[in-house]
């Protein structure tokens, strides 16, 4: 990446003659025509491209352009409509480059602005194009000029940028065109930060701290309802579920500090919401995993699983109808509205009581003790239910560590969370294998009852179940290996240091 800026801004129009004069005698400019264009930017709902410093955009009916932080670009054809999942994009380099950043999220149109744009070419002494200059002016009177490097001519682009920096009125730009456009968008990556309640302080009264964190989870639930109902991508439902699970855990582990039976009143409602979302999420996971598992079949042909896939898709449609009905129901709307009101009251009215830090210390210690107690009992041949219980306790500990993180030093937290995460990954592997293996058997039985399972499909599903068995065996072997370091004295000392008063 170049050390100097290749992007500039100016109040008023950029005069291409002034730029051309600054570049002489080394470079000449061939200016293109100025055109009025509509410029659209895309991103995922959770701003993955913005976070990676990437912009994905198109002008009018032009191709999709992916621009990296160093100014390099990739382009490819556009899908027919937005939102679009990656498989709606034609196969190619652009899709391959987006995949690791974006999948499984959908790309949404974030903002469209009208701009006057001019693309000019910068030529060297051989009249070879060595860079492109893109000038854009917007209605508010500001202009932006960007030097776009060409492969193999990066040094020229830097030289050109240095020469342009000397032109009067041009300033190196601190923001990207995408950042500028986002100021006009209805949603932006900063919304979340702006809407957060005051950061958690050690002396914050415990009820206020708990109400604030629950209010944040409630906001996440609200944010993800529309995308879940519209089935924009599977992560909306996932994020909604995680927020529900966190709400339930915090109600269970620290709900007692809230006033007058609030926890008891809302716990059944959030259990209802959690249960409502489970079947579709499970089916989403099966469908995502199915291709991987099908690729690992040794005896059966992956195509033998097609009737199974169709069955899952049909089953999911039915479950989705139930989920959507639930999310549109009066009950759901009432629960969320009452919940927000109650939390706001707590946050406004609570004074005194124990401080957030002492609550955090007490509850983290308790949760860790439970993990240790359950973890010690786990051996390679422990019953699956015991492993499942351990997983639930680990999740609770993780949520507590996460919500109280602002109260503690990072150095104490990081190694602890790293070890816990490794343990949770293995437990997750174990549990998923277990649930999926049982589910494959149940699905096979239902499909046979419905006459929807040809013999080849049943055989292939049998092989899938065997694959999951083998996977399960591996996860069991790995489990004891990761439990040992987590339960070791070093970690206990870390927790002790954390909760020491």
């Amino acid at each position: 990446m170049s050390a100097n800026s290749r992007a500039f801004t100016k109040q008023g129009a950029v005069e291409i003659e002034a730029i051309a004069a600054a570049l002489q005698p080394k470079f000449a400019i061939t200016a293109g025509p100025e055109e009025a264009v509509s410029h659209t930017w895309l991103d995922t709902f959770d701003w993955r491209l913005h976070e990676a410093g990437i912009s994905l955009e198109y002008l009018d009916d032009g191709p999709l352009i992916m621009q990296f932080p160093d100014g390099n670009r990739l382009q490819g054809p556009r899908p027919k409509k937005w939102p679009a999942l990656l498989h709606d994009l034609p196969a190619g380099r652009l899709r391959d480059a987006l995949d690791p950043i974006v999948a499984p999220r959908a790309l949404l149109s974030v903002v469209t602005v009208q701009r006057a744009v001019r693309e000019s070419r910068v030529l060297n002494a051989d009249e070879k194009t060595v860079a492109r200059l893109l000038t854009e002016s917007s209605d508010d009177g500001t202009s932006r000029l960007q030097v776009q490097p060409l492969r193999g001519y990066e040094a020229d682009a830097d030289r050109i940028a240095r020469l342009i920096a000397r032109v009067d009125g041009l300033k190196a730009s601190a923001t990207t065109p995408y950042d500028d456009a986002l100021t006009l968008a209805t949603r932006s990556p900063n919304d979340q930060v702006q809407n957060l309640p005051a950061p958690l302080q050690p002396e914050t009264p415990a009820p206020v701290a708990v109400a604030n964190m629950l209010a944040q989870f409630a906001a996440v639930i609200d944010d993800n309802v529309a995308g879940t109902i519209a089935a924009t991508d599977i992560e909306f439902l996932h994020d909604l579920r995680v927020a529900v699970r966190r709400t339930r855990s915090i109600l269970k582990l620290a709900g007692d500090v809230l006033p007058a039976n609030l926890a008891e009143r809302f716990q059944p409602e959030f259990k209802w919401l959690g249960d409502l979302t489970t079947p579709v999420r499970d089916l989403d996971v099966y469908l995502v995993e199915l291709d991987n598992m099908a690729a690992g079949l040794a005896s059966a042909d992956p195509r033998d699983l097609d009737p199974f896939r169709s069955f899952l898709v049909r089953h999911r449609s039915a479950e989705r109808r139930r989920l959507v009905r639930g999310l549109r129901s009066q009950r759901f709307k009432q629960v969320m509205s009452d919940w927000r009101d109650e939390l706001a009251k707590v946050a406004a009215d609570s004074h005194g009581g124990p401080a957030a830090t002492s609550l955090a210390r007490q509850r983290i210690e308790r949760a860790f003790r439970k993990v240790v107690r359950r973890g010690k009992r786990i051996a390679a041949d422990s019953p699956s239910e015991d492993v499942h219980e351990l997983r639930k306790r680990c999740k609770e500990l993780r949520y507590l560590l996460e919500v109280f993180r602002p109260l503690f030093a990072d150095a104490q937290y990081r190694p602890l969370i790293k070890e816990l995460k490794a343990l949770q990954d293995t437990l997750g592997d174990f549990q998923d294998g277990e649930v999926q293996r049982e589910a494959v058997r149940e699905f096979a039985a239902v499909m046979m009852e419905q006459g929807a399972a040809p013999p080849a499909t049943v055989l292939a599903m049998g092989e899938l179940a065997a694959q999951l068995d083998a996977h399960q065996l591996n996860a069991r072997g790995a489990l004891v290996g990761v439990l040992r370091p987590f339960l070791a004295n070093e970690n206990r000392d870390r927790i002790k240091a954390l909760v020491r008063r």
Partner: protein, 247 residues
């Protein structure tokens, strides 16, 4: 990634013109394209106004001390990159001979570009050498421009026979007539007869037109500076035929 080479043992038969125009057409249709100018004379490099110099010369590329990646230059056309020629490519045969699998080196060198480019064109120098053998092992399709003469056909047969003896992966050999003079009866007859009778001879022929020669003055593909000319349309027809041939 599809790899094509324009190759003929003879010089001046339209190899570079075909490589440059077909590469431009492939890029224009949305593919990411790399053109490697393997000819030390550097005609394709000249046409794209790129300096015919590669740091370390062919030795550094062949023995791997420099990555091909660092030598690639963008052309003036979106999606079309060039690996320039260097006069030191004239020694490439000797350098290839020093390698472990001397006939597979170009194939190995191109492998890392698998995810990056959709189409690669190799513009080869006129000769039959270790380099040309390397090219034949590296490509999916060998495009052979032929001037309409009985002896050209004989060369095409020799080439097909040579490739048929390869163990394992064999490139498709597709010949097309180039520099066809419509006023000459022999040219017309040979083109008609052979493209109908011979497997591997394409239907599209490239006529001898002065606009193709103007590429050297314009320093651009004819498909870019005269996109509606007869020559550009012939190259388009050739690209469709070639592209369709191997999917």
């Amino acid at each position: 990634m599809k790899v094509y080479a324009t190759y003929n043992i003879k010089g001046g038969v339209g190899k570079t013109s075909a490589a440059v125009n077909l590469a431009h057409l492939a890029a224009r249709s949305g593919h990411n394209v790399l053109l490697w100018d393997l000819d030390p004379q550097g005609a394709a490099t000249y046409l794209f106004r790129v300096r015919p110099k590669v740091k370390g010369g062919s030795r550094a590329l062949v023995d791997g001390t420099r990555s091909l990646d660092d030598a690639i230059k963008a052309t003036d056309f979106d999606g079309l990159d060039l690996l320039p020629a260097d006069f030191r490519y004239r020694n490439m045969d000797l350098q290839l001979d020093d390698m472990k699998r001397p006939t597979r080196r170009i194939h190995q060198l191109l492998r890392p570009f698998e995810g990056e480019y959709d189409v690669v064109f190799l513009d080869c120098p006129p000769s039959i050498s270790l380099l040309s053998e390397n090219v034949m092992h590296a490509v999916d399709t060998l495009l052979v421009p032929m001037i309409p003469a009985t002896l050209s056909v004989r060369t095409f047969d020799q080439l097909s026979g040579f490739v048929d003896n390869f163990d394992g992966r064999q490139p498709q050999v597709s010949a097309f007539f180039s520099m066809v003079d419509g006023r000459k009866r022999l040219h017309r007859e040979l083109v008609e007869q052979l493209s109908a009778e011979r497997k591997g001879v394409l239907r599209t022929a490239i006529p001898a037109l002065s606009i193709i020669e103007q590429m050297a003055e314009q320093r651009a593909p004819v498909t870019a500076f005269a996109p509606h000319s007869v020559a550009a349309m012939c190259y388009e027809a050739l690209w469709h035929e070639v592209n369709g041939t191997i999917g």
